[in-house]
């Protein structure tokens, strides 16, 4: 065993996390507020749709996924006060009117013969956009200063990817004819237009630097230098 009195860095030799990140506290809070908003709209829609779909496997899947997104919304709600936002409702909103229009269109189908349209909106349009925005956040934010957000993103992305796969498999099982392929493609195209106008679930900059993001660049100090200095 090593000499217990010998000085050691707080970072294990294999720990390559670095201090810099693209997001300030305010930018991280802004994004988290938009994440909470879209998770809330999604779990509400999935809950509402349960009664409208005749397919038993879809019905139980929507019930299960409804809770997943509710839990994600809860994680984001809890994170906001930790990001100095003491009135979370101020930030829990759509990034722009385009995303509100997207959600209105997403949740519009009700008839029992529109299961394909409901699932395409969630699993071929919204979930890929969520996974993209969350993955960008995970890659861009400081792995040390914003670690609590990263921890939540890890849990949430795990759910999102599993649910995306499950939803896509349901769709492939439901789409059997040329006409159903065309219906799915039409629906995806309509909704893609709307979410593209919105710029993604966090608005323009969902997948890249936005005009509001700032913070230290990659030339800032690293954990290694901090560790060495101590």
């Amino acid at each position: 065993m090593a000499d217990p009195s010998a000085p050691r860095s707080p970072f294990a030799p294999w720990d390559r996390r670095e201090l810099p990140g693209l997001f300030t506290v305010e930018e991280s809070a802004r994004r988290v507020g938009h994440y909470a908003w879209i998770e809330m709209r999604l779990f509400e829609a999935l809950g509402g749709w349960v009664a409208t779909v005749p397919e038993l496997d879809v019905k139980t899947t929507l019930g299960r996924h409804c809770y997943h997104h509710a839990w994600h919304a809860e994680l984001w709600h809890k994170r906001l006060p930790e990001l100095r936002e003491m009135r979370p409702d101020r930030l829990i909103r759509a990034p722009n009117a385009h995303l509100e229009a997207f959600v209105a269109a997403l949740t519009e189908p009700e008839a029992p013969d529109l299961t394909i349209e409901k699932l395409v909106g969630v699993f071929r349009v919204l979930l890929p956009r969520k996974i993209a925005a969350y993955s960008y956040h995970l890659a861009a934010t400081s792995r040390i200063t914003d670690a609590p957000t990263i921890r939540s993103l890890g849990f949430i992305l795990d759910d999102e990817q599993t649910d995306w796969q499950e939803g896509e498999m349901l769709l492939q099982a439901l789409i059997e004819t040329d006409e159903e392929v065309a219906r799915a493609a039409r629906r995806q195209s309509e909704l893609e237009v709307l979410i593209t106008r919105a710029g993604g679930i966090a608005g323009p900059g969902s997948l890249g630097p936005s005009s509001t993001s700032s913070g230290p660049t990659s030339s800032g100090p690293t954990s290694q230098t901090v560790g060495a200095a101590s």
Binding site: M40, F43, E44, A45, L46, G47, G48, W49, V50, A51, T52, V53, P54, E55, L56, K59, T60, T61, L62, G63, R64, C66, Y67, H69, A70, W71, A73, E74, H77, T107, E108, P109, E110, P112
Partner: protein
């Protein structure tokens, strides 16, 4: 998608058969007959035990689907100013629980020899989840309906033990744990949302009383020896019911067991 979704529009595949509640309750083959005409407590020594258990399991299955749909609609139907975010989180959790119960009961049904659609479905459970006031809806569903579920699952669990069926008793015990949680959620939200509104609380409790009477099915659920579903006092206490409240349910069930006293809850 509309806010508020009527029971007659509940989406089902081609195997399901919808029946009017009156017809279902008057069907001479079923369990909801008045005292003297029904077979009594569900025990393995009853000559029709296998059929009665399959019928009850099918009823649990469609009841779970409707409970899933009801919880889902509560998530969707109310705006944030009508139902707090935390309440919606609880209802979303309940959606997941009811989805699991649907999966468990369809597998148990297969295990017991029935299949989807063998028995008709009535929508009176979902109708309790259509109240436009979220407090009344929560009270009707999470205290009355889920309270009934406690009684049903405990009866089925005991039936599984009496039959030496470990799969049945194992699954019912798990579902029973969830139902106790759901009733506690209902009790908690009733208290929180009506803290400063005793009149609304009284209306909610009265609504629960009405639903509880309907769910007693003229003694089908009660403490009489011939009640197929026995009131599960211990688990109800665990879920937050007071003894006075349980006594009232028992007394209402006994009073409602008058053969002429039953009225169909819905058309």
């Amino acid at each position: 998608m509309r806010k508020s979704f009527p029971a007659e529009d509940l989406a089902r595949d081609g195997r399901f058969r919808r029946a009017r509640t009156e017809d279902r309750f008057e069907d001479p083959r079923n369990e909801f007959l008045p005292p003297g005409r029904r077979a009594g407590k569900l025990t393995p020594d009853r000559s029709d035990a296998a059929h009665a258990a399959r019928q009850l399991m099918h009823g649990i299955f469609v009841g779970e689907i409707q409970a899933l749909e009801g919880a889902g609609r509560t998530v969707w139907d109310f705006d944030d100013d009508e139902a707090p975010f935390a309440l919606k989180l609880d209802m979303a959790r309940q959606c997941w629980d009811e989805a699991r119960h649907t999966e468990m009961s369809v597998k148990l049904g297969e295990w017991m020899g029935t299949e989807v659609g063998e028995f008709a479905e009535t929508a009176f459970l979902y109708q309790a989840a259509c109240n436009p006031d979220p407090v009344l809806r929560l009270t009707g569903v999470n205290r009355a309906l889920e309270g009934l579920a406690i009684d049903v699952f405990n009866t089925m669990r005991e039936f599984g033990e009496a039959c030496s069926d470990p799969v049945l008793s194992f699954c019912e015990d798990w579902m029973l744990a969830d139902e106790v949680t759901h009733v506690k959620m209902g009790s908690d939200w009733l208290r929180r949302l009506t803290e400063n509104d005793p009149e609304r609380r009284e209306r909610a409790l009265e609504f629960q009383r009405v639903v509880d009477k309907l769910f007693s099915f003229r003694g089908f659920r009660g403490e009489a020896d011939d009640s197929p579903i026995q009131l599960a006092r211990t688990f109800r206490r665990m879920a937050g019911f007071g003894d006075t409240e349980i006594d009232t349910i028992a007394a209402d069930a006994e009073a409602g067991s008058d053969p002429e006293g039953w009225r169909a809850p819905v058309g």
